[in-house]
C-alpha cells in the first residue's frame, strides 16, 4: 500500500511546513493591508484564505499522503465525508438559534452590551 518511498513523505512534510508558514504570515499581511485604504477590502478574504483555506489543504495532504485515504476502499472516504456533512448539518440547524442575542426568557448580556457599545 505504501507505494511511495520516504523521499515522497519528506517532500510532503516540506510542503506542509511551507504552507504552515504561509498560513502564519497571511493574517499579518492582512493586518498590514487594513492600514491602507485601497487594499482594505482584501484583508478579510486573505485572512480566511490563508488561515482556513490552507488548513483544509494541509488536512487533505495529510489524509491523502500519510493516512492513504485515497487508496482505501471507496466507502472509507464516504464515511469520513458523511461525518463532516452531518457536522455541517448540525451547524446549519443550530447556528440560527445559538447566534441570537436573546430568546424567550433569556438574553445574553455580553453580546447585548457589546452591541450597545457599538462594537458590533
Amino acid at each position: 500500500m505504501a507505494s511511495h518511498g520516504p523521499q515522497h513523505y519528506q517532500k510532503i512534510w516540506l510542503i506542509l511546513s511551507v504552507l504552515l508558514v504561509v498560513s502564519f504570515v497571511g493574517p499579518f499581511v492582512a493586518d498590514a493591508l487594513r492600514a491602507s485604504e485601497s487594499l482594505e477590502a482584501l484583508a478579510l478574504p486573505l485572512t480566511l484564505l490563508t488561515a482556513f483555506g490552507i488548513a483544509f489543504w494541509k488536512a487533505w495532504l495529510v489524509a491523502k499522503n500519510f493516512m492513504h485515504v485515497n487508496v482505501q476502499p471507496r466507502y472509507v472516504l464516504y464515511l469520513l465525508a458523511t461525518c463532516l456533512v452531518f457536522m455541517l448539518l448540525f451547524y446549519a440547524g443550530t447556528a440560527p438559534d445559538v447566534m441570537k442575542q436573546a430568546g424567550s426568557n433569556w438574553t445574553k448580556p455580553p453580546i447585548a452590551e457589546a452591541v450597545h457599545a457599538g462594537q458590533h
Binding site: 448539518l89 438559534d97 430568546g103
Partner: protein, 580 residues
C-alpha cells in the same frame, strides 16, 4: 498487509476456559457477553419499573405512603422520573436491543466464531457495567440523584444551586458518558464484524435483516453521539469547573445543549427502533413461512430513515424559543420521516399476506409490535407539526406518544426477541401457554395505562407535576365515560400494577422451562438463518465447521422444495436455484 500472527486454526482458537470466573465473568465469548448485557439490562428494567411504580402511585394517591417505597417527596419524585427515563433508554433499551441481541446474533448470523475484537467486546461490557454502578451510586450521595429530567437541560443541570443535586447531576452525566463509550466500543465491533467477517458466500443482500438493522443502528449511534459527548464535556465543565458554556449571562447558550442533546436524541430513537424492527422481520418471516416481502426495499427504506433521522431533531424544541423559520423546516422533515416507517409497516403486512401463520408467543409479540408502534407513530404526526406541538408540548399527550413508541421497542421488541431465540440461547423451549398468558397480561394493561394518558394530555395535563390536587382545572370530574381526571390517573396506575404483576409469569416461565422444558434441538422453528445450524446452546466457537452461505436469508416455501424452508447453509442446488 502484514499479518504477523499466524492464522489460527478453528480448534486452537476455541478451547473453552475451565475456570468459572474466566467462563462467566471475564469471558471474551460473544454469547456470554450477550448474556451479561441481557441480565444487566433486565435488572435495570426492574429498577426502572420500580421507579415507575413509585411515582405513578404518588400521582394516583397523592401524599399516600407507597408500599415498598415510603413517602415520595417532591425531590424524590423528580429523581425517580428522571432516572426512570434515563434507565429505560440508556440502560434497558440500548443494552438489551442493541448490545445483547447484537452480541448474540451478529457472529452467529454472519457465520463466524466470535466478534472480531473479543477483548474490546469484554471491555465494552465492563465499561457499561461501571456506568450502571455510577448511575445507581448517584442515589446514595449527598443531595440525592439528579432530578432535572432525562434531557438534562441547563441551567437546571449545570448549576448545583438550582438542581440542589450538585454531585448527583455530575454522577448522572458521568454515567451517561461512560455508557456512550461502552456503546462506541461495542458498536465498532458490531459494524466491523458484520462488514468484514461474513461467512464465505454471504453477499450484502444475503445478510439477515436483523443484522443489517443492528449494524445501521450502531452507525447511527456513532455518527450522532459525537456532538453530545462534546456537549457532555462542556456540561461537566459547567458543573464542576465553573465555566459558562450554557449560561447566557456569561455569553453561553442554553439552547446549544438542547441542540447537542437532540442531535443525538432523535437518531437515538431510531437506534433502538431498528433492532426491534429487525427482530419483528425475522419473526414474521419464520411464523408466516414466507419470504420477506421486498428485502431490498426495506434496506433502502432503512437507509433513508437513517439519513432523515439526522434532519428532524429540533422538533423537540418548538417551544424553546428557536427560530420559527427553522421550525418550518423541521416540521417538514419530521412529517417526511413517517413515510419510510409507514412503508416498513406495509412491507411487514405484505409479508403476512397469504402466509401460513402460526400464532405462537413470538409471533404475537411481533404482531403486537407493529400494531402498538403504529399508534405511537400516528400520534407523532400531531407533535411533529409545529403548530399543534405548541399546544401539546410537555403534556401527557407527548408522554403517552413516546411511551407508545418506546414500550413497543424496548419491552415488546425484547420479549419478541427473547421468545424467538430462547431455544437457541438456552437449549430449552419456553412454555407457549404461559407465554401467551404473559403476553395478554402485558399488552392489555399497557394500553389501559397510556390511552387514558392521551386523553389527560389532550385535556391539558402538564408533565413534571408532582401533585395535581392543587390544580382545579386538572381535577375536573366527568371528562371521559363518566370518569374524572383523577379517576383516569388511578386507572393508569392500577393498570401499571397489573402489568408489573404479570411480569412474574414470564420469570416463572423462564425458570420452569430451563428446569423442565423440552429440549429445543438445533432448529425448532425450521428457520433458514445461520444461527439455527449450531447446536442449542451454541458451544464456544459457535460452529463445528464454519459454514458457507449459498442463498438469501428468507427462502421459505420455495416452490421447488418439499420442505417449506431452505436454509442458507445447505449446498444443494435445485433447478434454477443457482446463484446468479
Amino acid at each position: 498487509m502484514p499479518e504477523s500472527a499466524p492464522a489460527p486454526t478453528h480448534e486452537a482458537a476455541h478451547h473453552e476456559p475451565e475456570n468459572w470466573v474466566l467462563k462467566y465473568l471475564w469471558s471474551t465469548d460473544h454469547k456470554v457477553i450477550a448474556m451479561q448485557y441481557l441480565v444487566t439490562g433486565v435488572f435495570m428494567a426492574l429498577i426502572g419499573g420500580f421507579f415507575a411504580y413509585a411515582f405513578r402511585m404518588q400521582l394516583a394517591f397523592p401524599g399516600a405512603e407507597v408500599p415498598g417505597y415510603g413517602l415520595v417527596s417532591p425531590s424524590d419524585y423528580n429523581a425517580l422520573v428522571t432516572n426512570h427515563g434515563t434507565i429505560m433508554i440508556f440502560w434497558v433499551a440500548m443494552p438489551v436491543l442493541v448490545a445483547a441481541f447484537g452480541n448474540f446474533l451478529i457472529p452467529l448470523m454472519v457465520g463466524c466464531d466470535d466478534m472480531v475484537f473479543p477483548k474490546i467486546n469484554r471491555l465494552s461490557f465492563q465499561v457499561f457495567f461501571l456506568s450502571a454502578v455510577v448511575l445507581l451510586a448517584s442515589f446514595f450521595v449527598e443531595g440525592g440523584a439528579f432530578g432535572g429530567a432525562w434531557t438534562a437541560y441547563p441551567p437546571l443541570s449545570a448549576v448545583g444551586e438550582y438542581s440542589l443535586t450538585p454531585l448527583g447531576s455530575t454522577l448522572w452525566l458521568v454515567a451517561v458518558a461512560l455508557e456512550f463509550v461502552a456503546f462506541l466500543l461495542g458498536g465498532i465491533n458490531f459494524i466491523t464484524t458484520a462488514m468484514n467477517s461474513r461467512a464465505p458466500g454471504m453477499r450484502l443482500y444475503d445478510i439477515p435483516i436483523v443484522v443489517w438493522m443492528i449494524v445501521i443502528a450502531s452507525v447511527l449511534f456513532m455518527l450522532s453521539v459525537g456532538p453530545l459527548i462534546a456537549g457532555a464535556i462542556m456540561l461537566f465543565m459547567d458543573q464542576q469547573v465553573g465555566t459558562g458554556f450554557f449560561d447566557p449571562a456569561r455569553g453561553g447558550d442554553p439552547i446549544l445543549w438542547q441542540h447537542l442533546f437532540w442531535f443525538f436524541g432523535h437518531p437515538e430513537v431510531y437506534v433502538v427502533l431498528l433492532p426491534a424492527l429487525g427482530i419483528t422481520a425475522e419473526i414474521i418471516c419464520i411464523f408466516s413461512r414466507k419470504k420477506l416481502f421486498a428485502y431490498r426495499t426495506i434496506l433502502y427504506t432503512v437507509f433513508a430513515t437513517g439519513i432523515l433521522s439526522f434532519t428532524v431533531w429540533a422538533h423537540h424544541q418548538f417551544i424553546a424559543g428557536i427560530d420559527p423559520r427553522m421550525a418550518h423546516i423541521f416540521t417538514i422533515t419530521t412529517l417526511l420521516i413517517s413515510v419510510p416507517i409507514a412503508e416498513m409497516c406495509f412491507v411487514y403486512i405484505a409479508t403476512l399476506y397469504k402466509g401460513s401463520i402460526t400464532l405462537n408467543t413470538p409471533m404475537l409479540w411481533g404482531l403486537a409490535f407493529i400494531f402498538e408502534f403504529l399508534i405511537g407513530g400516528v400520534t407523532g404526526i400531531f407533535l411533529g407539526a409545529s403548530g399543534a406541538d405548541i399546544y401539546f408540548h410537555d403534556t401527557y399527550f407527548v408522554l403517552a406518544h413516546f411511551h407508545y413508541t418506546f414500550f413497543p421497542i424496548a419491552i415488546i421488541g425484547t420479549y419478541a426477541g427473547i421468545t424467538l431465540w430462547f431455544p437457541k440461547m438456552f437449549g430449552k423451549m419456553l412454555n407457549d401457554r404461559l407465554g401467551k398468558i404473559h403476553f395478554w397480561g402485558t399488552i392489555i394493561p399497557f394500553n389501559l395505562i397510556f390511552i387514558p394518558l392521551f386523553f389527560l394530555g389532550g385535556l391539558g395535563q402538564h408533565r413534571r407535576i408532582y401533585d395535581y390536587v392543587h390544580f382545579p382545572e386538572l381535577m375536573r370530574e366527568n371528562v371521559l365515560f363518566g370518569l374524572g381526571m383523577q379517576d383516569l390517573r388511578v386507572l393508569a396506575t392500577v393498570s401499571l400494577l397489573v402489568m408489573l404483576a404479570f411480569q412474574v409469569v414470564f420469570f416463572v416461565n423462564v425458570y420452569l422451562s430451563l428446569k423442565n422444558g423440552p429440549r429445543a434441538g438445533r432448529n425448532p422453528w425450521k428457520a433458514t438463518t445461520l444461527e439455527w445450524l449450531t447446536p442449542s446452546p451454541p458451544p464456544h466457537g459457535n460452529f463445528a465447521e464454519l459454514p458457507t452461505v449459498y442463498r438469501g436469508a428468507y427462502e421459505y416455501s420455495h416452490p421447488d422444495r418439499q420442505e417449506d424452508y431452505w436454509p442458507q447453509w445447505e449446498p444443494e442446488f435445485g433447478p434454477g436455484a443457482g446463484r446468479g
